[in-house]
Symmetry: C2
Subunit: 201 residues, 2 copies
């Protein structure tokens, strides 16, 4: 049967919401209903926020961060150490490192990882831009802050190869026990890495 | 530290997205980044769809369904049996019953269930509207299609009390084994109900 019980406008909204990461068809439907129910408290302000982001936010042409300025706030910040570039897979990783205040440097967003199975090759990532930036004599160190997954590590190896001969130091994040982590719950690879890279107490 | 790495526009978008059901702060951030990355394929059409819904979609004043028309398509559909009203908690339940083609009747959306713990009382639900509609002599049966939860059943009892004396038949959904369900995985209450309401084969 499945007759029309609501307008095509809502169907379209549900379909588009379902394309957001984290929302499936079912949760997109719930989200759409919530939006209709809270027209003034949620739907209207969210529409405005999205329009503003659409009109004003850009991807930084230098590092791949998203910001209202291009080059972005991070790239133009004179208090940052311009000799270090932290390479991350995604903007979310950049934000995570900044929330932690882990490093006072510039960033470079690859936009993903090499994944032959998903058909993602070197040309799909911003590696050329990284090589270009690393060729600047002012840049002394590239920190590869990619995820410790198989694809992430493959990407790290590939990027290291591409950076060879540029006279820049390439480092990667340390492996070890997460702060607050319990040994009993950690995998063998992490424990072995933590023992190998043990430091004097 | 936590210095500014992006504009307040994105922060606001993330905060609003996090208020959608199914999205937490972390997935809202991922959704916002996805929107920025897919400006033309996703952000722009989603903004348009939301604006259209905001401008055109309303909650039906009769039954609580959401539609571009008020009264809604379901309420004005002359091919539906006007003597039966199916009472549901939420619009999503109405849509689910319609997708199943379970019944050719009108609906009434309560807008939730009674829940003393969450401070939701009879005045927070559209029970008065239901009593009014049920008082119409043309209405012969009210099917209570609320969830089989404690709050849902409490609400069903309350609604039944309120409908008493109107001369309308009040029924509820059958309990039993879900189609395709395996007995071994079902709870005792369901199994007992299925045995009690057994039907001739």
């Amino acid at each position: 049967m499945a007759r029309r019980v609501t307008g095509p406008e809502i169907e379209r909204l549900i379909q588009l919401l379902a394309r957001l990461p984290g929302l499936g068809p079912r949760s997109a439907r719930r989200a759409a209903l919530q939006l209709v129910k809270k027209r003034d408290q949620l739907l209207a302000p969210l529409t405005d926020a999205m329009r503003t982001v659409h009109d004003r936010v850009r991807v930084c042409s230098a590092c791949g961060n998203v910001d209202t300025a291009d080059p972005c706030t991070v790239c133009t910040d004179p208090t940052r150490d311009g000799s270090v570039i932290v390479v991350v897979e995604d903007v979310a990783d950049l934000w995570a490192l900044e929330r932690a205040g882990a490093v006072n440097a510039r960033y470079h967003v690859l936009g993903g990882v090499l994944s032959p199975l998903s058909g993602i090759g070197p040309d799909d990532l911003d590696i050329t831009g990284l090589v270009e930036r690393a060729s600047d004599p002012a840049v002394k160190e590239i920190i590869l802050a990619v995820n410790a997954t198989v694809d992430g590590q493959t990407t790290a190896h590939y990027v290291t190869d591409r950076l060879e001969g540029l006279g820049v130091k390439v480092t990667r994040l340390a492996h070890g026990v997460p702060v607050g982590g319990e040994l009993d719950y950690l995998d063998e690879g992490t424990l072995t890495a933590a023992i190998r890279s043990r430091t004097p107490f």
